[in-house]
Symmetry: D2
Subunit: 294 residues, 4 copies
């Protein structure tokens, strides 16, 4: 499949655990069906929302394989394969490719801050040994590493299968620069929920978000309005869903989205410690925000 | 005049100096006429671009009075009256009111960081003694003080004539919050040039900018396209002028705008030291950017 | 007098105002005598503590002249002459020299962030027209401009009478670098009160502080212990006075020091708005801290 | 063994890899002997320097067990056991205890930023199930999480076996506050190499450092001078070794220390990608710095 098909609302899955803290794959299946029923244009497992960083290798593989089987190519699947080591990242990327992923997403997580050269070699080492597209992901808020637009363009130009960029800094100027320097040819995606509206007007091709777990209709309607050039409608839809977008971002996506799934009838357990479940006050606030959106 | 009339492209004037470093009021007159001819919807003297912070009190008054006389109510005039002391700010605000300003703009500049309470009292002390609207201005990049949305809303709610907010952090979330918390009732204006497009889609009522000194047509066309709901056109116009917007912001507005005025035929001298004139390489780059826009 | 004589405890004066907000020079005289009686090794008027940034030019000159007359060369006087413009800074520096200052202190305050080149030219323009030593002052917390060690060394090497550096970032590494790069030849002074102990061990020649307005004995004993190589005693003295040093820094020096002077029997009025007087709770806490030191 | 015995120079081991990237335990044994011969007062495997974050669980256990066997209680061993999950951290801590560690070190690494409550529960969950002391480790530069002094004191007061704090922010004020709030009763250790001198004067009980892999004599002499109250000597020794301390910190400890070991005759391989070996220019500079110290 071509990169061109990745666009619109890219829905991030949570990773459900049972009461013992073990993977709950049936619940994952339900959550995937809810996302697809909700109209997302692609599915992204094992990302920040999916607690990919907190899984054992065996668990990671189980989730990746299960998700790809469940989606079954109805829509594209983009698997987050970031690992602390380059070898581990490549191994996961190849696993995803072997099991039918349409693309992989790579965030340069690390313990030590990486130099530009180290980041470049990291992407090159994976890209050179992979047959599917890579979405480069910049999110200093979780990775501690902020890739400059210069570095991103250097990687995109040198590594053939790095064909997409997900930008989550929340700084709209990054998207402007990606657009200007690529003469509008590099597809970029927004990973900052409360910037969904402006990212689209700046030219983002898609919105990477966990929100469709809770409000798929509003997310989809925003994209539809944008595509139809109905900006007053888009603005109105955006401001309507903004309180939820702010809430899930500030509270931590795994905690808030899992709480929201429970409030809407799907039990997916608590995040894995040290991450904690949303507390009672938070759940109450979330319920009110969801009620306001009905 | 009502606050409602302040909207669209709000053009900031530079403050011309002659070769001796003295005020050059005739050149100021020319630059004001260029802005009005260029179609700006309001004029804002003595702001960041206007080197208001670097003038003696006598010079400040001369520029304020000259500008108000020159504009002569053809369009609204918003005078920046920020001073390090509350007393000085009030004195300037009253001077502006007495000479016919439609509104004043106040940035809480200081040497010591101010507490929220000190900032609140600063606005209240001026507002309680003034008969025209105040545009509250947040620009931590120059003032060193970042007013939270909480504080801004507190001031707006408590001080009757603080009726407008100019936001220059470049963080679109501030505008979202101003909009959400005021139920869309508080007019906010964008002061970050490279965010012009997104600020409008988020609901900004105007764009405070020095760019019309150099490219008034492109600025105005962007606003027209936005108002007509032609977002593809707006996006195209925005990306076209973005290299210039980036350049004048990064190079410092007084230096770059004065250099640009010279390149376009109006001599307004150099900024006042320690600010320096744009160097030869910068002038060359600016010339190329301007050429590309013709 | 030579730069060599500036060392030890350099006491910063407040600028007293009467109940009308006008200069109270007799109170200034009293505060200077208290500092000298308290054993400070030099006096520094019109700095951050002295609200130099909030005075009219006339007031500034009155304070400078009065202080120099009052000190009357009993100990060195270092006058802070920072102004937003280069011309204003030079004018103040020459005024200080003409009235007998031993040195001037210059912080590159500005409204627009200055480039390294602009800062360099600022110091050169003043230095080339002055006959007394300049203490370069780095304090991004108030000035918004952080001079790198590279830039500081460049200025020190190029401008003959920039012979001392006051460092107030609170980052001990800056002092290490100043020491290493000058092979220990550049006198540096600490302007961060809660780093007094470590700055001395790193090689600082003096401590620029407003604390001697309130606890001159403890300040002086610390310096004495350091000079005698009694580091256990120095450590003990430092930790004893640290709560006060923290308090006056966090609360803003003009507010807290003026409050402390009142609590110790010298009325110097309130800081000039927008700065506010220390509130009742703060005064109560300050009283308890002072009581603990008796 | 009691916490009291952990003091002085705490030497961090690297983790050697062979040319295939596999663990090289014999080289680890040599490096441990060099540290002990060099006079360190304790050994700390699997920390930042030891690339603990980049090892598989099997490798991690092999290094922990081998190190404890090699040291064989000649001096205390403090094993870094940080893992992304609470369960993994506890498992490693119990492994270390079972194999004879004197203490463990825990840094709250994570992918998502943790709330104070989550961090607190993380330490409590481990502490409640462990029989040896825990050194709480704060290093936002690698973990992305900065624990306030308030939070640290709360954990220390609530979790019995959190008995030591390692502070690596490089902000001396943190140590001051730990000292003040614990009335000097909480042992704190410095993890910021270029702050070694000042941390000791502020009261640090030890210096956690990888430098003894390269310059054990200078490190030890500094501690000896400090303990003897010879501060002029300590200052001189500190400034002498500072260029090396700066260099290894800025270049990343695994890369620079492994390069330095090679330059001094012990081959320990390259760091694990994405970390890269020190480049030729860096090696040349490091050689010169080491030569200057002979």
């Amino acid at each position: 499949m071509s990169t061109q098909s990745i666009h619109g609302i890219i829905g991030y899955t949570i990773t459900p655990f049972d009461s013992e803290g073990q993977l709950d794959l049936p619940a994952l299946g339900h959550s995937i069906e809810r996302l697809i029923d909700g109209g997302v244009h692609a599915i992204a497992p094992l990302g920040s929302t999916g607690e990919g960083a907190y899984l054992s290798e065996q668990e990671w593989e189980a989730v990746a394989e299960f998700t790809l089987t469940q989606v079954d190519r109805r829509i594209p699947t983009i698997v987050s394969v970031s690992d602390l080591t380059t070898a581990g990242t490549l191994r996961r990327a190849q696993f995803a490719e072997a099991h039918g992923a349409d693309a992989v997403m790579i965030l340069p997580i690390s313990y030590w801050k990486l130099s530009d050269e180290e980041i470049f070699e990291h992407y090159r080492a994976v890209g050179d040994n992979l047959g599917i597209p890579i979405m480069l992901y910049n999110n200093p808020g979780t990775s501690g590493i902020d890739m400059s637009v210069d570095l991103i363009m250097r990687i995109v130009n040198a590594v053939d299968n790095v064909t997409m960029v997900k930008e989550s800094t929340g700084d709209i100027q990054r998207m402007h620069q990606l657009n200007l320097r690529s003469q509008g040819q590099l597809p970029f995606y927004n990973g900052c929920n409360p910037m969904a509206l402006e990212a689209f007007v700046a030219g983002a091709k898609g919105w990477c978000t966990a929100a469709p777990n809770l409000i798929p209709d509003l997310n989809g309607q925003l994209y539809t309005a944008v595509n139809a050039g109905q900006w007053d409608e888009a603005k109105s839809l955006f401001y309507r869903q903004l309180p939820l977008l702010d809430f899930i971002l500030r509270g931590g996506l795994p905690s808030t989205v899992k709480a929201g799934l429970r409030l809407t009838g799907l039990e997916t357990g608590a995040p894995r410690p040290p991450l904690s479940a949303l507390n009672a006050e938070g759940c109450h606030r979330l319920q009110r925000i969801l009620d306001d959106l009905r």
